[in-house]
Subunit: 278 residues, 2 copies
């Protein structure tokens, strides 16, 4: 038993998804595909007299984290540090929930398995309404394809075997809660088609084409995002919209080649893990 545990959770940009509700939050979630990023969230969990949750030094309300700590019956201090913006489609809330689960298990000696901890974080995120598929994707790493919804006990995942540079350009926030609370039928139909396309040909080229088609058909593109994507395409690159943020992501140097002051990261090969204590 240690006093403090640190977990790295990769960021996760979703390219396309469906909404799959269920009464049991560990079975609810989404199908879809995304890219996990080397830019992620470093979550430190420490034993504490009272519960606190901070992100980059400031207190935050994080319902998903609270639900994780309730499930693990733990009073701990959770500190997240990240270069990623909140509410811009990078799965920061999912990362905080997953990092809290893995870190609390270590400091409070809860003796749960990886799948059990991912299930708790996934269910917490679904119940909080802040995400449907980030947690299970961040637990796997790489370029995860979510073929069936839910936590690790019920879902079915595969991945595109790819690595490489990724760029992103953030223009603003986008409320995941508002989209998920609205009519998701059109979105889910478009998401299903995108999953089918990428399962048939699991390559990054196909992933980006399916993502762009999803963004158009699900009617989620903002004018600003659309204009950036078009500019990248005209410059010979390939880009799409991060679901859900007013954020454009591109493979390789697509955004910088098109003249945008984008942030450079890369596909993260592994899933969320405890950092080694020295």
């Amino acid at each position: 038993m240690t006093d403090e545990a640190t977990v790295f959770v990769p960021g996760h940009v979703t390219g396309f998804f469906t909404s799959e509700p269920a009464d049991d939050p560990t079975k609810a979630g989404s199908r879809g595909g995304g890219v996990t990023l080397a830019d992620g969230v470093t979550v430190t969990v420490a034993t504490s007299e009272e519960r606190s949750v901070t992100l980059n030094g400031g207190d935050i309300e994080a319902e998903a984290v609270d639900r994780v700590l309730d499930a693990l019956r733990a009073t701990v201090a959770v500190r997240g540090e990240t270069p990623l913006p909140l509410g811009a489609g990078f799965g920061v809330s999912g990362a905080m929930a997953l990092g809290s689960a893995l870190g609390t298990n270590a400091v409070a000696d809860r003796r749960l398995s990886e799948n059990e901890l991912v299930t708790i974080a996934h269910g917490a995120e679904v119940q909080a309404g802040t995400g449907l598929g980030d947690v299970v994707a961040q637990a796997r790493g790489g370029v995860p394809l979510r073929l069936e919804a839910g936590g690790p006990q019920t879902n079915d995942m595969d991945a595109i075997p790819a690595r490489g540079r990724v760029e992103y350009y953030v223009m603003g926030e986008y409320s995941t809660e508002a989209v998920l609370a609205g009519d998701t039928e059109t979105l889910s139909r478009a998401g299903e088609q995108a999953v089918s396309r990428v399962v048939k040909e699991p390559t990054m080229g196909q992933f980006m084409r399916a993502s762009r088609q999803f963004a158009r058909e699900a009617d989620l593109l903002t004018e600003g995002v659309q204009s950036v994507i078009e500019t990248v395409n005209e410059a010979g690159g390939t880009a799409s919209m991060a679901m859900l943020g007013e954020t454009v992501f591109a493979l390789g140097s697509g955004l910088t080649d098109a003249g945008y002051d984008a942030t450079v990261t890369s596909i993260y090969p592994g899933g969320a893990t405890l950092q080694e204590s020295e």
Copy 2:
């Protein structure tokens, strides 16, 4: 499409296992638990006029690799580099098979998914008789628990959420083929019990206790291995036997504390991945 692709595959030390035969090699395999290691195999696959397979610069016969290349209909040169000894229980043959599958998919543009490539490598390893569970464990990383046998389409995996230093001490080889070709009933019964114990309490302490009990009950301990394990225990450490090699592995500094000239590595957090091309 590139001319060369490099894949890192972690080593894998099995603590306990069952043998689960099946007519379909992608459904056959084993249940069990092991530790993936930062000491692994770097597999480079290059386009070539004729097929060749080398390990640390020397030609080797590798039936599992040949079966992978047959399945992918590829003529490539496969080069493995590793600090790990062959035949000593580190999953080097599984790593060569898995690295060949991921690397060949990249250089020959085969457009298969991660699960499809892992399935091909797992089936090839089972058919070659050189391993039952290394490939799926090496694809996941960490401390994988194999709860149901087979490749990714049929198996069921979980993991112990742990990191840390691991030491190993190699005394000699041990034929996996000979053990797997013999009577595996006692071994599988002991393996089932070990899996049950660790599922109930997924911690490294329980993993090591279950591994030692398995080694005794499955009657696989050599005198030399038994003596080293006892010496580590007397020095306050925790060690067990790598299945299948005349190899002892220990958590933390168990072997060096007991005076052995052991090799130091650590639990590897992620699964096998393509290396980034620069």
